[in-house]
Structure formats: C-alpha cells, structure tokens
C-alpha cells in the first residue's frame, strides 16, 4: 500500500484528495503557488511546499519540479486530481520512471484515449457504438450516396477542422449538394484542406456518462451513470445521478459498453466513459476521461463508494473490494457548480475578495470547496469555487434540498452562479427532467421573471437602506470626519434603526 501521497493540484480537489488520504491513514503533501499560500489545502496539510509563481506554466504545470519535490520529501506516489497534468501521459510516464506510483491509469491508456481518432477506432473494435458517419476524404458523389444510410439530419464537417468552421447541417438529401459546396470552400479557406465527412446530427441528445473503477487484477466495475446535459459552451454546470432518462435495462447496457471500452485500453483506476444519448434511447461514444472527474461526488452519494479512496487503494495494488453485483443505487444526487462568474452578465468571470461566506449545512447536503472568508479570487485559475451536492430519496427531494441549500449559501464580494442555479431548480422543464445539451440555449432565460415576483420587497429593502444612509449623512454632517467616530455611529445607528 501507499504511505505518502503528493497531491499535484489545488483548490477543492486538493482538499478532496487530502481528505481521502486522511481517511485511509495515509500521509499527504500539498503544493502551492504564491497565489495560493493561504488556501485551505495548504493550511490543512501536514506538509506543504511552494512550487512557483502564480501562472500555471510556472507552478502547477511544472512536472519536473513536482517530481523532484516528491522525491525530496519522501512521497511514494502522486495524485494529479483533474486538469493540470492529470491527462498528460508523458508526465504519468515520468512519474513512473522516477520510481513513484502514479495514482491513475497507465500512460498507454491515457495516450490512446487522448487521441480522438485512436480512441474511436479502439473502442469501436470493442463493440462500442460511435456516432454514425462517413470516412474522411470521399467524393461528393460518394457522400451523397452514403447520406441516406446515415440518416437525416446530418452534419457535413471539415476533416481538418474544428470550431464550427466548414460545418453545415443538412435536413434532407436535396440539401446535400449545396452544403457540400459551401462546407468545402469554407474548409479550404480555413484549413487549406477541403476534405469533408458526414456525421449524424443528434437532435435533443443528452450527455450521459458512466463511472468506471478498474483494479490491476483485471476487475472492472461501473458505478452507474451521471447525467450532465446542463452545459454552457461545453462546460458542465449541473450534474446528477442517476439520469432521468435511463432505466434499469439501459443502465446495464451502457454500463457493459463502458466496461468494454475501459477494458479495450487495459484501463486501471477511476475513469469516465462519456456518451450522447438520443431521444430514442440510442447512445454513442463521445470520449473517455482518463482521470477523476469534477462531478464524481454525485456517484459517491448514490452508490456509497468513495471513488478517491478506491483510486488510492487500486494504486497501492489492492483488489477492488466489491463486484458489480454489490453496486446499488440509493436515492438521487445532484451537483451544482458554484463558479466565480456573473450569470446576469453573460457568465463573465468575477475576481475579488470574499467578504462574506456562509456554507449550507445539515443532512443530505455536501459541500466540496476550497474557499475561505477573506480569500482573494485571482484570475490565474479556473472559476470553480465550490461544488454543492445534495442527496434525497427521490429526484424531487434532491431538487428541494438543492433549492434550500442554494438559499442558505451566502457568498459576497464576488459574483457567483448561485442565482443561475436557483433559477434552474425552479424551472419546470428542468424539474420534469426534460434535459438535453442545448437546454440552456433553447429553454432558459436568466432574465425571465421568476415564479413569484418580489419587486415590492426589493423596493422596500432599497428604500430602507437609502433612508438610513440619509439619516447617517445628517448625523455625520453634525459630527466630525473621524473614522473611529463614524464607525461608532454606524453601530449605534444600526441598533437604533432595528
């Protein structure tokens, strides 16, 4: 088994891993950039070392420094968390070459799943369904002939491309000629390569993913699915487990396919196989994330399995302590990502100091966070402040608990996505579980009026504040400008105006 784990990450996930180490009685080592000196993962650590200046390229991405540090402080293993170096096969290999244990999959599995083309080919061989499409580089005539067998609507996509350039939607065979012409010319202009291919368009599809755990003895188990359809620009905002669209039969089927995909690359540790699930209950491989995921807690809440602890056990050479038959779903769990972004202003990132903080507590509520009162939110790292997770007997109860937990969550000084989540929890379509990856574009409006109208209350609150300021100003005018006196007066006034 492992003895001392270096955690090559920061924020909430560093805290999460530190806690798992503590629960297993393992020592752990924290790293920090200069911007993170007072982060909880540093203060709560038993051992912590500076890794460099704030920019990630000079700190959390410096694999060489991280390995040297691990060796110097006597760590026997490195857990990368998510992001940063988590899916860097070269780093994983370097860790292993340095004689340390990599708490994650083998570098070969990371590499294969990291290359989209190789990943698709590898899993297809294992019988995993891919989004139907054509090969790359066919002629117009060949593509027009192939199209009906793929089915409409479909997308014409640039072979060399990305970012929507050289992409056209086609709804019937009559539109093929024009779409091919414009797509090819756009692709030529953008990438200097006019090859295109066809891909079935999945209208109203959901993002459903399956959590995998695999040990080094060939035991691979899935921990059921998560639905993560609520996304904005491909960033997940709300996740839940199970999915409202998956029944026992589909769950078993998707689980088996996900296990096959993992086995195809000789997968070890925790990983996630992502699928698109269409309206007809057909699902297609998207990609495999070869690391711990942000949204892993919803799976932990419904299965009772501590995924990070299992990762550490597996890395330490232990067998999985359970089989597929032991995995049972208990209730429903939901996660809201609390980001430092302003939902009223196009999700613009918000920086500043946390001047007020009160976390929700009580039964059925879990908060994974790396924040503190007085903390400076810097522009150096991603905007995830906290993950708010609730558990209930049913989906309805998980939503009710989320609603009150969001109401209890107070954070001032920076803008957050809390108002966005409150609006989502009150959204009837969301409550009905009618989700898909274009939900936010098609069915959501941050500025739409809410269920109840509290404009009169807002009017009263602002007017009372204005009235008190007015009174204060008069008092101040009579008194002097001493800040101490001002402070005393404010306190006295607060009391009088109650």
């Amino acid at each position: 088994m492992l003895k001392k784990v270096l955690i090559a990450n920061r924020g909430e996930i560093a805290m999460r891993i530190q806690r798992a180490c503590s629960d297993l009685g393992l020592e752990s080592v924290a790293l920090f950039s200069d911007a993170d000196r007072l982060q909880p993962h540093v203060r709560r650590a038993t051992e912590a070392y500076r890794i460099g200046p704030p920019p990630v390229g000079e700190s959390y991405l410096r694999g060489d420094k991280i390995i040297a540090l691990a060796q110097k402080c006597g760590a026997d293993s490195i857990h990368p968390g998510y992001g940063f170096l988590a899916e860097n096969a070269d780093f994983a290999q370097a860790v292993i070459d340095a004689g340390l244990t990599w708490v994650g999959p083998l570098p070969d599995a990371i590499r294969k799943m990291g290359d989209k083309t190789i990943a698709r080919e590898t899993v297809a061989k294992a019988g995993v369904p891919l989004v139907p499409g054509s090969p790359k580089g066919l002629s117009d005539d060949e593509l027009v002939a192939l199209a009906p067998s793929i089915g409409f609507p479909l997308l014409v996509k640039a072979a060399a491309g990305g970012g929507g350039k050289g992409m056209r939607a086609v709804y019937a065979v009559e539109g093929m000629a024009a779409a091919l012409r414009t797509a090819r010319s756009e692709a030529k202009a953008a990438f200097g390569d006019d090859r295109v291919y066809l891909e079935k368009m999945l209208v109203g599809a959901r993002h459903v993913e399956v959590q995998i755990l695999a040990d080094s003895f060939g035991n691979t188990v899935h921990l059921c699915e998560r639905e993560c359809s609520i996304q904005r620009r491909h960033q997940k905002l709300i996740e839940e487990s199970p999915s409202p669209a998956v029944n026992e039969e589909l769950r078993a089927e998707m689980g088996a396919v996900a296990v096959a995909a993992a086995k195809a690359v000789n997968y070890q540790s925790a990983g996630t196989v992502e699928f698109l699930l269409d309206k007809d209950g057909k699902f297609y491989f998207l990609e495999m994330n070869t690391r711990l995921q942000v949204e892993h807690p919803v799976t932990e809440m419904v299965t009772g399995v501590d995924i990070v602890k299992e990762m550490l056990r597996i890395a330490g050479g232990r067998k999985l302590s359970f089989t597929q038959d032991d995995i049972r779903l208990n209730g429903w769990a939901m996660e809201c990502r609390i980001l430092a972004e302003d939902p009223f202003n196009n999700f613009m990132p918000s920086i500043g100091k946390i001047t007020g903080l009160s976390l929700p507590t009580g039964g059925g509520v879990r908060v994974d966070a790396g924040i503190y009162f007085g903390m400076e939110i810097t522009p150096f790292y991603d905007s995830l402040l906290a993950k708010l997770i609730t558990h209930g007997e049913s989906r309805a109860e998980a939503i009710l608990r989320m609603r009150r937990a969001l109401d209890e969550f107070r954070l001032s000084g920076v803008k957050t996505t809390i108002p966005f989540h409150i609006k989502m929890m009150n959204h009837t379509r969301f409550q009905a579980g009618q989700l898909n990856t274009t939900f936010l574009e098609n069915h959501f409006d941050m500025t739409a009026p809410g269920v109840a109208d509290y404009k009169d209350i807002a009017a009263i609150a602002a007017t009372l504040v204005a009235h008190r300021r007015h009174k204060e100003a008069i008092l101040l005018h009579q008194g002097g400008p001493s800040p101490w006196r001002l402070y005393g007066r404010r306190e006295a006034l607060d009391r009088r105006l109650r």
Partner: protein, 165 residues
C-alpha cells in the same frame, strides 16, 4: 419621509412612517429590518414574512439580490424629486465615463474609434480572461472620447480601455 422607488421599471411610493411601519402604494406594513455591522447581512421581516437580502449601492443606484433575482432599484425622496422636476426612471450617467477592465486579460477587439458616436449598450471593447471572451458595452448614448488600448495588448485589472462622453 416619502420616497419614489423604481424597481426594474415599476414605480412604488413608499412612506417610512417610523422605524417599524411603512406604507407602500397606500398599504401599511409592519417592518423590521436589521443589518449586522460589517457583514452586509440584512434581514427584513415584513408582516411576518422573512427575507434575506443583499443590498449593494453604487453611484446612488441600488442592486438588490433577493431569492436569486437581481433587481435594479432607484430611490428618490419626494422633495428632491419635486424640486428637480425629474420624471422618474434611472438617471442617465453624465460626464466622461471610463470603461475599465475588471480583471487582467488580453484585449481581443476595440470595435470603436475616437470621435465615433455610440448608442447605449453598443459593444466598445472585448477582453479575454480566464479562457473566456467578455464584451464591454457603452453605458449610455454618446461619443467615444478615448481609446487607450490595442488588440493583443495585455492589461492589468482596472486599466481604462475606452472612455465615452
């Protein structure tokens, strides 16, 4: 004391009778509003209904966050209003307004030129930060007074990008 208060375009007449009673559009309420010093934590109980509110003041205008909804509020006391002959609604910003970068980043685009006429909410700058592109709009109808940054330029927090008058 009487106030004319406008919330998201709707106007209310509010009379603060005493510390514990107000009249809003003619209806009287028991009110108990308490703020915990230096935390911004404000609790409002109105005829027994309890509300946790955040009230933010900026340049005389208020933003009230209530049950996850943000309201823009202006408060004018009746006498001032009468004297000024104001007809209600948000006062337009006056003078030269500096549009600053709220965080460090890289300028992507400045789609306006000095001397150009702009309308309220017209985009005057695009800043990339934390892997995202953010648009900045003119707060009023006016003219671009200055453009102080160039596309591709790295800027610090609070750098003035554009000014409008």
């Amino acid at each position: 004391m009487k106030y004319i208060t406008t919330v998201d375009g709707t106007q209310y007449t509010i009379d603060i009778n005493d510390d514990h009673h107000i009249t809003i559009n003619g209806e009287r309420f028991d009110v108990d509003m308490t703020t915990l010093s230096r935390t911004g934590l404000t609790s409002l109980i109105l005829n027994g209904q309890s509300f946790d509110v955040d009230v933010d003041e900026r340049d005389g205008a208020y933003q009230v966050m209530l049950k996850g909804v943000l309201h823009d509020v202006t408060v004018e006391d009746e006498r001032t209003r009468r004297l000024a002959g104001v007809k209600g609604g948000l006062k337009e910003a006056v003078g030269e307004i500096l549009i600053k970068a709220p965080m460090p980043g890289v300028i992507v685009e400045i789609p306006v030129k000095v001397g150009e006429a702009v309308t309220k909410n017209q985009v005057v700058a695009v800043l990339e930060s934390m892997k995202m592109q953010n648009e900045f709009k003119s707060p009023k109808d006016g003219t671009v007074k200055s453009v102080r940054v160039k596309p591709g330029e790295k800027v610090d927090q609070n750098t003035v990008m554009v000014s409008v008058a």
